[in-house]
Amino acid sequence: MRAAEALARAGLKPIVLDEAERPGGQVYRQPPVAVGRFSSAIYGFEAHKADAIHRVLADCRDRVDYRPGTLVWNLFGDRLDLLTRDGHAEQRFDRLILATGAMDRSLPFPGWTLPGVFTLGGAQIALKAQGVSIGRRVAFVGAGPLLPLVTHQYAKAGVDVVAALDATPFGAKVAQARGLLASPATFAKGLWYTARNRLHGVDVKHGIQSLRVEGDTHVETLVWRDAAGAEHHVACDAVGASFGLRAEAQLADLAGCRFAFAPDSRQWFPERSAEGRSSVAGVYLAGDGARIGGADVAELQGARTALAVLEDLGRAVDRREVARLDRALAQQARFRQALDAAYPFPRHLLDAIGDGEIVCRCEGITAGTLRQAARDKEAREVNRAKALTRIGMGRCQGRVCGEAAAELLAHACGSELQDVGRLRGQPPVKPIPIAVARLGVRSLENAAGALAESAAR
């Protein structure tokens, strides 16, 4: 929205293709219809930011062509394939800003496919957008700043939060305190969430060594081992668990953007210059889809990227605004570096995964099958492992299991994570109904052209 706003301000009329029905992305996701809840109740401290983002469209009115409910399912050359309410459509572009965001990084653990296990982000969206809780007695597990936040939001909503477990050590946070102070407001909010969580009787436990979920047909118990090695059993009917975020970078991949491995967060990101340019001319990257930075960074980066687009179009840009954004982004980068270090990747959970555990839930592929492919079938690269075992080949196309599969494969091969590569993006980015073909192809550009023509007559 910040990119669209900056472009509109400069006199362009950007098209915004949004998979959601209303603007706001994941962090400022709005309920599907006006439900009469105050934004302060939904977004807490961030209500003013959420309101500001939601207001962008109203402020820009007809200077932004906003198209909700539109899934961009493929990108080839200068053309986007869209799934809209009316069927398939195409959209050509001369400049493209990909702001595709991030999703929870899932890791397998015993019981992770039981009904009642959600991701932290999923649990948060349920509460934020739908006003529902994932359960009555809820346990949360995480390895990132989402954990204390979701815990706080659930406790505040009156849900019985029976455990909040951080898979990363407390010492890592202490060690990064200095760097985290690069964003004092965020740091203060973190402390406040922790204090409020304590007040609600939820103390986040750090450095948990193992976890599993037990239950017959549904979540019944969360079993975990604390930093000292003691085992705990907690009765619950829902679990929210995920371990940091992963970029949703499939469209950047299909655009042919060059990717680089980020050792700190152990994932691949499309390369992005400080200004927001990708390695492909005309394609720009903003937000968490190119590097996990969080909502504030996404706003800054969105605005900065729009200015890069304007520069590349030969338009005059406000140099002071550029300097302001660059300074703010540099400050945020220091904070982010500390945050990444405060929440290191909890690979001990993966190392403990038994051969019988499902890694790819779409296809029911176990860790044992993956390890066997590495051992007996020369699978030393994730796409080869996918071809031989079907891992990452199901409905989600590896969006859920891809990172865990790569970690397990690298471990089984005794190689570095970056050496097993990353799953190639293949369209569609998300499943599309086969029946969409019967509705015929509609070119939005042509439709717009026809309208203009008939208006001219």
Binding site: R384, A387, I432, A437, R438
Partner: protein, 384 residues
Amino acid sequence: MSERLQVDVTIIGGGIAGCAAAVALRGAGLTVALLDKGLCGAGASGVNFGGVRQQGRDLAELPLARRARPLWDRLNERLGEDVEFHASGHLKIARAEAEMAELERHAKAAADHGLRLQLLGANEVRSELPWLGAEVVGGSLCAEDGHANPRVVGPAFARLARRLGADVREHAAATSAASTGSGFETRSERLAIKSRFLVNCAGVGAGKVAAWFGEDVPLTPQVPNMLVTEPLPFFITRSIGVCGGGVYLRQIARGNAILGGGAGWGDATSDRSRPLTAVSLAAMTKALAIVPALAGAHVIRTWTGIDGQMPDHIPVIGFSATTPNLVHAFGFSGHGFQLGPVVGEIIAELITQGRSTSPLAPFAIDRFANPASIEPASAVGSEQ
């Protein structure tokens, strides 16, 4: 300084044909080195539809397809793993009386090669396969045809070749090959291999290899446009093709329906290829007309890859016309998957005996020297 090898046979290209040749040559006691530009079985051998099909082929190919078919029954045992071969039967559908007549003609000709095809009228085809769409007026069933998983066959052959002692080098593209008088020297970036024989199984790259020996072949890229749905309850009991081509589909035990038709975009030089949306949508529409019950399914992935195609849609298999001890096997034009295992055997025959028991005259590389002599393909329709 590059590593030096000396072997009896160098094979360029680690698709099914090249790897099967390595296996057969090791069986005959020859030493073998194989070079692949990427991973073995990841090219056309790995991205195709997976049809193990005899019917509908060019009659020149039928003797090879007939000889290949029993190999598939023994492939799991031979390779030591499950390649998911399923003799589901292959039904070629007619949507008009003229198409039915064409199927009848093909059935008669195929019978001369010992391939029994069963012609089904509208009532028969509908009673056997009640889920077929209204436009189907009949079909030709080849009960012994079927399908297998193309992603696993090539890699399994490559590993078997390795176990048998072949020196299989991956991520080692051949950069040059030349006669040395007594044999060949083939180079990759880090390797120089001397050999008595050279085999060109380089798929779409085979034209370049042939050109190193002064043979100009009209090989063009062929880019199958493939799609797969989410898993569905199993009901598509036969592998399905359509008279005149256009679309083909099958359902695997896991439940996914795999369909293809038309060509995607491909660039052989950069080895890049992509499915084309318009082609995918057309294949989806055609598939829905034949199997209306797919209407509720989602497409979860599309893909493609690059095969080599000849103007008459049948491959080049046999000795070079310019260079002794050089063997070509390429240009399978989108239907080499079923033939792969037997082509490996034929290559080994050519090298060890100087001739093959299968009739290879139609596949001679110099058939294009005089363009007027090229017969139009007699196949009923192209389909992997």
